[in-house]
Symmetry: C2
Subunit: 448 residues, 2 copies
């Protein structure tokens, strides 16, 4: 009996999840992981905290080292191996080795493509300059950290006010860097309710971050960023304007891309080519509420993709149940979180969204430490279905949003959700949890 | 057109929830609330924090004052009115007024019984002594606080190591009172996983609380508590051995009691007598997983009971969807929480429970502040259904348990739960949340 040879392209979240599942369920197989970088299985999301903390070591970000993967999990991890071409007829992946430049190839019976995504950098003059950084690979994080460690970065500009941009504000301020956050939009955190965004902007201001909205970057040079009407001086420019899936390898091999530009997959994470799976930031997902294709490149999703792709590659049939765009971040003393759809997204999908915004207390009457928690919640008028929520508060938001996530994932109506039997104690919430208060207000609004 | 007269017996959580719903949905009605005490609508659960904090005022516990209820909500609140008899033939509630002793009665078209529960005090010699306290009504809390405020309580004994007993340990230690926690069982917090209980006991010890298990109280006197083999000196004895539903009023009126000894109700919270509803700590619930009658006297449940009873009394049809025994507490620096069934409870209900216990990190690789979170999780072998979970940790437990509560409430299998799309950021959890890690380990165990 010959054993199956699995090849995984990319050894970070999705790739290593897939490889580990294959190893577990097909113990006799050969599992090869081609990783172009110097590390596998690292927590890219933790890089802002590595940058913020001069005591933190790069190794702290590594969840599983290549040596551990090789020896403990018997996965043939090959670092510095960049896949260059997939030959689907011969079932070969061609690669080039770094830094030697030596070329080679590896045969596969089953292939997992986990090539991830790349930071999007706008094509303005100076965007390739040495003072311009992105935050995507471990090497990117290392470069920012080393630059700050020199003590010569006094002023920084962050372009893009999404999750990474907001987290980097905290990291840079922690290192004593005067920070300006610049967005093409009028406010940070697109899609969040106006009242929640107001709280976020106040938090940025409290911590000395200057926010500049409605700005177009004209050029970047070594002294800073030229906007339409002003020049912002900066020793460091961090571009945090989102990412694009790495799909050329798949595209060149004739594998179908989806409507969102990432690799199209079925619920088993299999691509248009039988025996070839895709997972993580290079692959599309299905939205659980709408059943539509979406591109949600997040670490949580990548890990689940990888697990499902690996299981199916190893012939343990399972389906990816879809995403609901749950995401969150910490920004200074605020927890900011969302799950499900915004009213705009819901409307685009044909729902009739009804939204409420409430402010509730984090703790019960009579408990000394309390702070406000803002909740925006949206449901469909016709069906009463809970579609999503957003929250902001100093604490008690990051896990609480996942109660709503569980409900959206289950397709609960607002009436069902409002009667959830949630655990309660005075230090942790009022007797009606803020999410239930929001649901109750929303029930009233739906009945009108 | 004559308006409906609603009478509510009891003005705390369930009673005032019912009254408020009735007022909202039947604006022309007369709503009378008979409350035997001096306050309505207070947070009884917050009393340990009122006792712990010398700055806290009793008024801080009041969610809604009688005056506010009268003027803002047009509810006819009658304080010091103790219902003594329900005349179901004449539809009258007889009462006695305190302190005058004057008697009277009020007619009802629809009646809500929300008579609550009373602390259980074992019948040992000295249990009625002036140094023996319970913690049930606001007056109880006031009495403990006043005693401690005198500065003469140096040593206290708490009898009973459940939720209230554990919370009172923290409160007494905060006031400099040397505290001994005494239980008839070998360990505190019955039903919790051995490993979680071990962590709780270590926490008690860290904060100087002496735990004495397997103890029987023989007598109580002004100097302390006589156990079988030893005498424990104490200036104050707090009995926290659970509560019993106040059902005599209903029972005497011929209203059916349930198998758990509380008032039997249908899903609309209506008793065996048409037009008479019961809600809160005097009434039974249905368990959502087993469909069996249970007695779960908690503030969260009481509020929901009251809401459902009030809506149905006001002819807005709605059903109480059941409880899953979600509960939690803070004890010093620990959050302790559970939802759903324990393995023992599951086995009694005919399930084939499979349990796992894991310890996971509260935050991602590379985030500086991390602490362990223990999760015990149980599922049914045959169906894969998620039955319950328990958690202990320094933070991140109180809201996280409610993600599991949402899943148990929905009847999710462990496979469904393991793929929940939860929001994630490095400060708040690893990329696989501890509850998903537990689910994953449980999946593996179920497949064996």
């Amino acid at each position: 009996m010959t054993s199956t040879q699995y090849v995984v392209i990319g050894g970070v979240a999705a790739g290593m999840s897939a490889a580990s599942r294959i190893r577990k369920h097909d113990p006799g197989a050969s599992v090869v992981v081609l990783e172009k970088g110097a590390y596998i299985s690292y927590s890219a999301c933790s890089m802002p905290y590595y940058i913020a903390n001069p005591e933190a070591r790069l190794e702290d970000l590594i969840v599983l080292s290549a040596d551990e993967a090789r020896h403990k999990r018997k996965i043939d991890v090959r670092l510095g191996h960049e896949a260059t071409r997939i030959d689907t007829a011969e079932r070969l992946v061609h690669f080039v080795q770094h830094p030697s430049g030596r070329e080679g190839s590896v045969r596969y019976d089953r292939l997992i493509i986990a090539t991830g995504a790349s930071a999007f950098v706008p094509s303005v003059e100076g965007a390739e300059g040495p003072n311009v950084y992105t935050l995507r690979s471990l090497r990117d994080g290392q470069a920012i950290r080393e630059a700050i460690d020199t003590g010569e970065v006094r002023r920084a500009v962050i372009l893009g006010a999404g999750y990474v941009g907001m987290e980097m504000c905290e990291a840079l301020v922690a290192r004593g860097v005067a920070t300006t956050l610049i967005s093409a939009r009028s406010a940070p955190m697109m899609g969040y309710h106006t009242e929640l965004v107001r709280t976020m902007m106040a938090e940025l201001e409290t911590h000395g971050v200057r926010f500049m909205g409605d700005q177009q970057v004209k050029t970047i040079n070594s002294r800073g960023v030229q906007l339409t009407d002003s020049f912002v001086e900066a020793d460091m420019v961090i571009v945090a304007k989102g990412i694009r899936p790495n799909v050329s390898l798949a595209d060149d091999a004739g594998i179908r891309l989806g409507e969102k530009g990432a690799i199209a997959v079925d619920q088993r994470m299999e691509t248009s080519l039988a025996g070839v799976f895709a997972a993580g930031d290079c692959a599309e997902s299905v939205h659980r509420v709408t059943n539509r294709r979406v591109y949600v490149p997040l670490g949580t999703v990548a890990n689940k993709h990888g697990r499902v792709a690996g299981l199916n590659a190893a012939r343990v049939g399972t389906r990816f149940p879809g995403v609901i765009s749950s995401a969150e971040l910490k920004c200074f003393d605020l927890e900011i979180a969302r799950t499900g759809m915004t009213p705009d997204e819901a409307e685009q999908e044909g729902f009739d969204p009804v939204e409420v915004h409430i402010t509730a207390s984090s703790a019960a009457h009579g408990y000394p430490e309390r702070h406000p928690i803002q909740v925006a919640m949206v449901a469909d008028r016709g069906t009463g279905r809970l579609l999503g929520a957003q929250m902001v508060g100093k604490a008690g938001v990051a896990h609480r949003i996942n109660i709503v996530a569980a409900a959206v994932f289950n397709g609960n109506t607002i009436d069902e959700f409002a009667m959830f039997d949630l655990a309660y104690a005075p230090p942790f919430s009022p007797v009606w949890d803020p999410v239930l208060v929001a649901a109750n207000v929303l029930q009233g609004k739906l009945r009108r």
